[in-house]
C-alpha cells in the first residue's frame, strides 16, 4: 500500500484532481474540506505521510492549520502548500511554520507527484 496523503482544499475539483494525480502514482489519498476538517480527521487517528494543503479556505485556513498541526501528534508530517497565493510574506510564514514546499495553482500533476515521491523516499 502506498503512502497516505491528506489533501486539504475547499474545492472538490482540486481535491479530485490531486487525488487522481496521486492515486495514479500509487499513493493513497484522504480528503478534508478545510483546516478544521483536517484537524478532526487527524484527531480521529489517520496518519498521513504527507499533507497537501490549500491556503485560502473557510473556517480554518492553511496557515492556521499549520499552527494547529504543531500541537498535534502528527506534528512533523511534511506539508506541501498548494495554492493560488504567491506572496513572499505568506510563503515565509508557511516555511516558519514547518511547510516543506509551496506549489502555485494551477498545478502541474507531475510536479506534485515528484514532490510527493521525494518526500515518500525520505520517509522510507
Amino acid at each position: 500500500m502506498g503512502m497516505l496523503v491528506l489533501v486539504i482544499d475547499d474545492s472538490t475539483m482540486i481535491r479530485m484532481q490531486v487525488k487522481r494525480a496521486l492515486t495514479g502514482a500509487g499513493f493513497e489519498v484522504a480528503e478534508a474540506r478545510d483546516g478544521q476538517d483536517a484537524c478532526e480527521k487527524l484527531d480521529s487517528g489517520i496518519q498521513p505521510g504527507l499533507i497537501v494543503c490549500d491556503v485560502n479556505m473557510p473556517r480554518m485556513n492553511g496557515l492556521e492549520f499549520l499552527e494547529q498541526l504543531q500541537k498535534k501528534p502528527a506534528k512533523g508530517t511534511p506539508v506541501v502548500m498548494l495554492t493560488t497565493e504567491g506572496q513572499p510574506d505568506m510563503i515565509k510564514k508557511a516555511r516558519a511554520l514547518g511547510s516543506a514546499g509551496w506549489l502555485v495553482k494551477p498545478f502541474k500533476p507531475e510536479l506534485l507527484i515528484s514532490a510527493a515521491t521525494s518526500i515518500a523516499a525520505k520517509a522510507a
Binding site: D10, S11, T12, M13, I14, M16, Q17, G35, Q36, N56, M57, P58, R59, M60, N61, E64, T83, T84, E85, G86, Q87, V104, K105, P106
Partner: protein, 325 residues
C-alpha cells in the same frame, strides 16, 4: 462599464465605437436631450463621452437627479478649454489604447479619493488592459489549451457564475473579478477536466475554483507592481457584472467563459469582536494584550481567527475591517 456617448452627430467617432466594442464595453448613443433623458433615466451610465457641441444639453441632464452624475470626458482638440463639470478631455485623434485607458481611469476616479489612490488608479487602468493576456495565460496553464479573448456577449446566459474579491485596505479599494458559463460550456469544460460530465454541483465548485485561480493570478501580478491585495473566498455571485469596468469572453473550441472585473471604493468599518464575520478583511492589524501583532492588516478572517481574537481580547474590543463579509 457602460458608456453613454452623447453627440449631436449620430455616427460620431466610428473608430471610437469600434474600439469600445472590441473592449467589450456596453455603449448607448444619444443625439439629443430627449433621447438622453429617456435612456439615462432608465439606465444610468457609468461614464459619459460627450461631444463639446453637445455639452450644453448633455451635461445638465447627466449631472441631474436620476442619472447618477457619471464622470464625463469630452472629446476635443488639444488646448481647448475644458467645460465646467467635465473630468477630462481627450483629443479626437487619440490612439485606441489611450482612449481605453482614459475611460477606465475615469470610471475608477471614485476609488482614487485618498492620497495613494493615484497609484491604484494607474494600476487598475493598466491591469484591466492586461487582464486578457493574464487570464488567457493562466487558464491555458490550467486547461492545457489556448484561449482567445473576444468581446463580451450580454445575450449569453450565465448559468454558473462566481465572483472573488481582492481587497486593498491601504487604498480603501477592492477589485471584484467574476466568471460565468452557460450550461453547454460548463458541460464541455467538465468533459475537458474530468473526462465526463460530472453534473452541475461539481461544475459550480469548478467555476468557483476558476475564480480563485483568476484572483490569485491578479493578486500575483499586482504584487509585482507593488500592491498587496488580500484574496477573499469565491462566492456564486454576479452582483457586479452590470457595472464591470472590464468585460470579455475567453473562447476555446468547445466552450466560452465570460469574465468581468469591477473596482469599488470601500470604507473602513469598526466592528466589535462579537460582530466579526468570516471573510471580512482587516484594515488594521489587531494587537494582542502584549502589544504584538495578533493578526496582521490585510488578513482575511476565518472563524478560527475570530475565535483567536475573541479569546485574546474579549467580545467588546473594536476591530477595523475594510470589507464586511
Amino acid at each position: 462599464m457602460y458608456v453613454m456617448i452623447a453627440a449631436a452627430e449620430a455616427d460620431a467617432w466610428p473608430r471610437l465605437q469600434e474600439l469600445l466594442d472590441k473592449l467589450g464595453l456596453r455603449t448607448e448613443r444619444v443625439s439629443d436631450a430627449s433621447e438622453l433623458t429617456l435612456i439615462a433615466a432608465c439606465d444610468p451610465p457609468s461614464v459619459a463621452l460627450v461631444d463639446p457641441a453637445s455639452w450644453g444639453w448633455a451635461h445638465p441632464i447627466l449631472s441631474g437627479p436620476g442619472c447618477g452624475d457619471p464622470p464625463c470626458m469630452v472629446v476635443g482638440e488639444p488646448g481647448a478649454v475644458l467645460p465646467e463639470g467635465a473630468h477630462s478631455m481627450i483629443p479626437a485623434d487619440a490612439t485606441g489604447e489611450e482612449v481605453a485607458l482614459a475611460l477606465m481611469a475615469l470610471a475608477l476616479e471614485g476609488v482614487a479619493g485618498d492620497d495613494d489612490g493615484s497609484s491604484f488608479t494607474a494600476w487598475s487602468a493598466t491591469s484591466m488592459a492586461r487582464l486578457d493576456s493574464l487570464l488567457a495565460s493562466e487558464f491555458t496553464g490550467m486547461l492545457g489549451l489556448g484561449l482567445t479573448a473576444e468581446p463580451a456577449n450580454p445575450e449569453l446566459p450565465l448559468e454558473l457564475c462566481a465572483e472573488i474579491h481582492l481587497a486593498l485596505p491601504t487604498h480603501n479599494a477592492e477589485v471584484v473579478l467574476g466568471l460565468g458559463f452557460d450550461l453547454a460550456s460548463a458541460r464541455a469544460l467538465s468533459v475537458l477536466l474530468f473526462g465526463e460530465d460530472l453534473g452541475i454541483d461539481m461544475m459550480r465548485d469548478a467555476v468557483q475554483e476558476f475564480a480563485n485561480t483568476a484572483g490569485g493570478a491578479m493578486k500575483r501580478a499586482a504584487s509585482r507592481d507593488g500592491l498587496t491585495f488580500s484574496l477573499g473566498l469565491p462566492t456564486p455571485d454576479i452582483a457586479h457584472i452590470r457595472d464591470a469596468t472590464y468585460g470579455r469572453r475567453l473562447v476555446a473550441d468547445t466552450f466560452s467563459m465570460s469574465v468581468w472585473a469591477h473596482t469599488l471604493r470601500i470604507d473602513d468599518m469598526r466592528h466589535k469582536v462579537t460582530d466579526l464575520q468570516e471573510g471580512a478583511v482587516l484594515a488594521e492589524a489587531v494587537l494582542g494584550t502584549d502589544g504584538d501583532v495578533l493578526v496582521p492588516a490585510g488578513a482575511v478572517l476565518t472563524s478560527d481567527t475570530v475565535r483567536r481574537i475573541h479569546r485574546e481580547l474579549g467580545p467588546d474590543e473594536v476591530v477595523v475591517v475594510s470589507r464586511a463579509a
